[in-house]
Amino acid sequence: MTHSYRQSEGMTGNRRRLGIALPFAVMLAISHAQPAVAKGTGLIFITNEKSNTISVLDSSDTLVATIETCARPRGVHFNRDRTQFFVGCADDSTIAVYDIASQTLVRRYRDIDEPETFDLHPDGRHLYISNEEEAEASVLDLETGEIVGEFETGAEPEGVLITPDGRLAFVASEAANMVHVIDVAAGEVIKDILVDTRPRRFALTPDNKELWVSAELAGIVNIIDVESLELVGDIAFLPTGMRKEEVTPVDVLIARDGQRAYVALGRANHVAVVDVAARKVLNYILVGKRAWGLALTNDERKLYVANGLSDDITIIDTATLKTLKSVPVGQVPYGILIDD
């Protein structure tokens, strides 16, 4: 497949497949001290999965650039010091790396089977990737470009979350209705948790005690106790006038103070605002069509919502819960990254 990048070709990831997961004990020795974070540019990056572009907004929420990227870009994530970001392109089986300051492509990791989303291990070196078509999660060593671990998951793995202590990695399998729990040090799946229909994304409470996972086709968020790895509760969503089947939650965010959560309700075209401790919905905010991706600014005063079927971003004032603006981007916006 040919694809035009605006930038010149980066280095190509040299990939050697290993049949078994390597032990990760060595990684635990690495310090998890907070890395020095580069001063933010204020830019907002949005992947558009159907137009194969990244839209760039400035801090005034004005579209300032559109970067051509690889095919079907979805997941986006910062590197450890936030000088670069990763974009997963499923149709090109590529993870592309961009330099934030210059907004240029600096590297491509090839032959990563249909990456959808991923999370970076706190060591800054290992990217845990869900490979949608291959029913596996793989671990990419960002330095060598090699796949150093593979874990069999249910069909269509989606959300990936690594605990801040780097001990556990969670992978949701959409088709198998399961959350797989990977013990990073042991390099193995230690539990498959049966959850509700079509689990998608994760969020962890700031005390690291509760893992929230959206169950898209059940219209709820399941809550997993991280200690026991058991389901301990769930929150159902139903904006006024909606049918249960129209409520399809995907992205989940929990604010830093652990009081409030935001859940994008997909086809219901709303974002739910949730009281985390009470597990109660406080409010529903009308957004664009099929809201999936969410991101908060660093000061948590603005919430960005990617509306996949209206090709725009809704920007919400989190103090008033009112919409400030909606900005047209590319076709089928998916992921949002805010560099502030």
Binding site: E132, E133, A135, T153, D192, R243
Partner: protein, 399 residues
């Protein structure tokens, strides 16, 4: 509330699983659960239909590859319960009694879940003998309403939508567009008559007017031009769209663009109502289509989707109940707890009055899905999917 009920159901199911001898979750050696696929050798449905000059207009594939994919998709789900799923594939020799073969396989393989890919003529007799058997049978092929009506069986579940469901979806679409006046062109095949009968009911249900039903005939005989000439067939009438029923397809492929009036064609050409289409872009469908095509080497169509859905339904019932006996599985399939991801946006369970899987219907052309029924605005008091197909009162099924 549904959620609470579900939790209780699960809790009970798990308790039962602990004492059930049939399913020992948690043991080290994985227990194998076998499903069976039954086809018929030399089935004319799978002989490519050749038209004049050797053109292959129709090359139907067996549902089998869908079942294989369903098995593959379920592998990890079994891991959590210490189960392994297996598919036994049997193509029966012509003349061999299907009912007897199913009983033999059930006894020999210890399986009670069967996917049936048998010609429609064999279905009523086969079912009659298996009505009371401790089995879960899936119809993954036929839309025939009589299988959900007079010939229904408590053991038979349908993942293929009924003809009525497909025609209801199409009628909703026409109604929403206000293409209310229909001219119907009907071929000579029995399937054409069945489709027209289903469409008549759907038209009545959703307030469409069928101006006239005109039989057509393939040929060039000028004495029969009123039946073989498309311009004449579509003249002297006022209509918003043409509904075409031509299962064979040799006549039908010439109907679009040859109508006297500039009107769209729906039915078996133009806009078609199906369980599945290879171009669907939403609700995870691209992933399922890509996964299927990569393995099978061709595009997924409705019967392969139906076989995939049947396997997933059986697996879901086994995982959620923790049991494998037919009575438990059948009870779960028709329960409110059944919430199967169909990759069409709305999850579905089976209707207790006729064992039909509730599902959205895709309205598509040859290369695009134009809409998904239930069409926006068609509402039902309990479940919008029940605006498609027979309800408990109008179903002719009596178990």
């Amino acid at each position: 509330m549904t959620r609470g009920r579900r939790r209780r159901y699960l809790a009970v199911a798990m308790l039962l699983a602990l004492v059930s001898p049939s399913l020992s979750a948690g043991t080290t050696a994985a227990e194998t659960v076998t499903f069976a696929y039954i086809g018929r050798d030399a089935d004319p449905a799978y002989t490519p239909t050749k038209a004049y000059t050797g053109l292959v207009l129709r090359d139907r594939k067996r549902p089998l590859d869908g079942a294989r994919l369903g098995l593959r998709d379920s592998k990890i789900m079994g891991r959590a319960r210490g189960l392994k799923f297996k598919l036994t594939e049997r193509i029966l020799a012509p003349g061999r009694d299907a009912g007897a073969a199913i009983r033999e396989i059930a006894a020999a393989e210890g399986t009670n879940v069967f996917l049936l890919d048998l010609p429609i003529e064999e279905m009523p007799d086969t079912l009659r003998g298996l009505k009371a058997a401790p089995l879960v049978l899936f119809n993954v092929r036929h839309g025939d309403d009589t299988l959900r009506g007079a010939n229904c069986a408590p053991t038979l579940f349908h993942t293929m939508p009924s003809d009525t469901m497909r025609m209801d979806g199409l009628a909703q679409f026409l109604r929403q567009k206000r293409w209310d006046q229909l001219l119907v062109l009907q071929g000579e095949d029995a399937e054409d008559a069945r489709l027209v009968a289903a469409f008549r009911n759907s038209a009545k249900k959703f307030g469409l007017d069928i101006e006239e039903v005109r039989p057509f005939k393939l040929g060039n005989d000028p004495r029969e031009r009123g039946r073989n000439n498309i311009r004449l067939l579509t003249s002297s009438a006022d209509y918003d769209a043409v509904f075409l029923a031509d299962a064979v397809g040799e006549f039908g492929r010439y109907v679009p663009y040859q109508t006297l009036l500039a009107r769209p064609v729906v039915g078996t050409e133009g806009l078609i109502a199906s369980a599945w289409h290879w171009t669907y872009e939403r609700y995870g469908a691209p992933q399922l289509n890509q996964r299927f095509e990569k393995r099978a080497g061709y595009r997924m169509t409705a019967p392969q989707w139906a076989a995939w859905a049947a396997v997933r339904a059986a697996v879901e019932a086994i995982l959620r109940t923790g049991k494998t006996d037919a009575a438990s599985l059948r009870a779960y399939l028709v329960s409110d707890e059944m919430n199967l991801d169909l990759y069409k946006g709305t999850p579905g369970g089976f209707r207790p009055w006729n064992n039909q899987l509730r599902q959205p219907i895709l309205l598509h052309t040859y290369n695009a899905v134009i809409d998904r029924a239930p069409i926006e605005g068609f509402l039902h008091q309990t479940n919008n999917l029940d605006t498609l197909g027979a309800g408990p009162l109008d179903s002719a099924c009596r178990f």
